[in-house]
């Protein structure tokens, strides 16, 4: 094992814990958590992973972890790290397998009263129309040439092809297209895996959820995001499917070879990396951008079909439904961004693995319509409790390279969750709580049982109190399609 004993954490304040610089660490580590969350965090030894990331060349200021941190491969999930664009490294393990796994939120003109008698029928119709589940394949048959356009253009390809509206792009992180995507660096295998899966939800923790706004914390910002109490919303959580996995896998292999050539000593093979300015580093960035664009096109299509199902099932026009895209965020990505380092602007590569961008008011990366308030941040919780809409802050810019948490974070392994739910009817339990769930398999449903996750409100409370984002609204799940 690469983990040698427990890491000693020093309390900075109620929401911040320092990992002092020891051994080969180039910078300190900082974990955002309260005492209660910290106990769980300590159990899975993810702080050791925060310290491991601090050893990588070119890391700036701190190796960071958000309160939903848990043990990942190499980099912890919930980890944020910025590397100098000229001197630093880039690492596929710092992004994760599901490149641009992310969330989007739709608002609507509907209120809970409008759907009271119809929610089950609506969720069943969504389940029928939107491909989900293990190895799901879509209805689309794309040529390789068309897929290359998807990889270059992202969500814009989807809109051009009739999936959704032009204004959706404005409300998508990076307008749904990451610069620098080059399909030439993608393996045939990635193309082969990705082509039949475009327009599918996938399995595991991916979902499509009809919910409603339960509580508003900042009415003015909520209004700007077109959210109001008791309004029906839809949240979609999905990523780049087999294509992203293959890109990650291909580059872990390539970078593993490079690590050996360069003689880099790494505490874990899954931390394989290369300098951003190297050929492999540049190729990975271009390949990752392709996968990110694929994921944005994917979520755009899933959203388009969701709107169609609502229109058909409720016999309402798009205008009457008003299913506007509030925002789309990615939470597994490496981004080329400018940040202030020691008072000087510096170009860095920010790795967010299970972390969300949270840009402050006035930042040019925030859509114009939201710029005076800040960037919307979407935090899905488990399917039994709630999700949150937050907003980015100056605090995030100062302390976390414009980043915040991404979700609840697991506390139980999938096998533990399965054991705990033996003999229980999760469907019934959730229905007793007013939540109707349709799942492609019982397997995924029990693995995703609410108690397998941290309480997302605890996670959100920490980022809110620490000032790296602020609460805007709380959403509750009502009808869920699980992959």
């Amino acid at each position: 094992m690469s983990d040698q004993g427990k890491i000693q954490l020093q309390k900075i304040d109620d929401y911040r814990w320092r990992i002092p610089k020891t051994g080969k660490m180039r910078v300190e580590g900082v974990i955002f958590a309260d005492e209660a969350l910290l106990k769980e965090i300590h159990e899975d030894e993810s702080p050791k992973q925060v310290a491991n990331v601090a050893q990588l060349p070119g890391i700036q200021e701190y190796s960071l972890a958000m309160p939903d941190i848990h043990w990942g491969y190499g980099f912890p999930i919930g980890g944020v790290a910025a590397f100098d664009w000229q001197e630093g490294i880039i690492s596929p393990g710092g992004v994760g397998y599901d490149i641009n796994c992310g969330t989007r939120l739709l608002s609507s003109n509907l209120s809970t009263l409008d759907l009271r008698e119809k929610i089950k029928g609506l969720v069943n119709a969504l389940y029928q129309s939107i491909p989900s589940g293990v190895g799901s394949k879509g209805a689309l048959r794309l040529s390789n040439q068309e897929l290359r356009r998807v990889l270059r253009q992202g969500a814009a390809w989807a809109v051009e092809s009739g999936y959704g509206w032009t204004e959706d792009l404005e409300h998508t992180e990076d307008k749904g297209c990451m610069e620098g995507a080059d399909p030439a660096v993608i393996s045939e295998r990635a193309v082969e895996r990705g082509r039949p899966q475009l327009g599918t939800l996938g399995s595991g923790n991916h979902f499509l959820e009809v919910g409603y706004v339960d509580e508003i914390y900042e009415p003015e910002v909520a209004r700007l995001f077109s959210l109001r109490k008791d309004q029906v919303t839809v949240m979609i959580h999905s990523g780049s499917r087999g294509l992203g996995y293959q890109v990650c896998d291909d580059f872990l292999k390539k970078m593993g070879e490079r690590v050996r050539q360069l003689g880099l000593e790494l505490p874990d093979r899954q931390l394989a990396c290369d300098f951003i300015q190297s050929t492999t580093g540049q190729d990975y960035f271009s390949g990752m951008a392709c996968a990110a664009n694929y994921a944005w096109a994917n979520r755009q299509m899933l959203m388009h079909w969701t709107r169609e199902v609502f229109e058909k099932f409720l016999q309402m026009s798009p205008k009457d439904l008003g299913m506007r895209l509030v925002y789309d965020v990615c939470h597994n990505i490496a981004k080329r961004e400018w940040h202030s380092i020691g008072g000087e602007p510096r170009e860095v590569c920010v790795h967010r693995k299970g972390a969300t961008r949270a840009f402050p008011p006035g930042h040019p990366g925030v859509p114009e319509s939201y710029r005076r308030a800040g960037q919307p941040v979407l935090i899905p919780g488990d399917m039994g409790r709630y999700s949150y809409v937050l907003i980015g802050t100056e605090g995030a810019m100062r302390e976390t390279f414009g980043s915040t948490c991404h979700g609840a974070g697991r506390v139980q392994s999938r096998t533990q969750a399965k054991k705990a739910s033996k003999g229980r009817s999760l469907h019934r339990e959730l229905e007793d709580r007013g939540i109707y769930v349709v799942a492609a398999s019982r397997g995924t449903l029990v693995e995703e049982a609410p108690e397998a996750y941290k309480d997302v409100s605890q996670v959100v409370e920490v980022v809110h109190q620490a000032g790296i984002s602020r609460k805007v609204a709380k959403l509750r799940p009502w009808g869920v399609v699980k992959g």
């Binding site: 491969y73 082969e192 593993g256 096998t415 397997g443």
Partner: protein
């Protein structure tokens, strides 16, 4: 001796695999992969796939071997239960995997394994017994 046992990992699933030889440990790791995925008693040995691979060391070779089988599963629908090796060195292998193509009417996918990771990867020999540890992303 069991072919393998599973252990918990917060987000995912790890396996410890046993064998008397490196070939056996590689075969049992592949068996574990498909055994976790489906009911292998329903899989017949109808066809075979040849696999040829190279890697930097035995540990990476194990990840590449399992990833290759996972790719065959995802792209061709292959479900495999028997594995034999005509060559297995620390840097290369030549193998045959036997099984059949997934048929929804007869086969059930219990669990989707999405990737084979390098995280805490280990292959070792002790007192003539081989053991490997690998974590799957599920």
């Amino acid at each position: 001796m069991n072919k393998y046992e599973t252990f918990n990992h917060t987000a995912d699933l790890g396996v410890r695999v046993f064998g008397r030889t490196s070939e056996e440990v590689f075969a049992n790791a592949a068996y574990a992969l498909f055994d976790l995925m489906t009911d292998l008693s329903r899989v017949e040995e109808k066809l075979s796939f040849e696999v040829q691979l190279a890697a930097q060391d035995l540990e990476e070779l194990l990840v590449r071997w399992l990833s290759e089988l996972l790719f065959l599963r995802e792209s061709r629908g292959g479900l495999f239960k028997k594995f034999s090796f005509s060559q297995l060195s620390p840097t290369a292998l030549q193998a045959v995997a036997r099984g059949e193509i997934f048929e929804p009417s007869r086969h059930d996918i219990k669990m989707e394994i999405k990737a084979v990771t390098y995280h805490q990867l280990e292959v070792k020999e002790k007192n003539g017994q081989w053991e490997a540890r690998v974590i799957f992303d599920v």
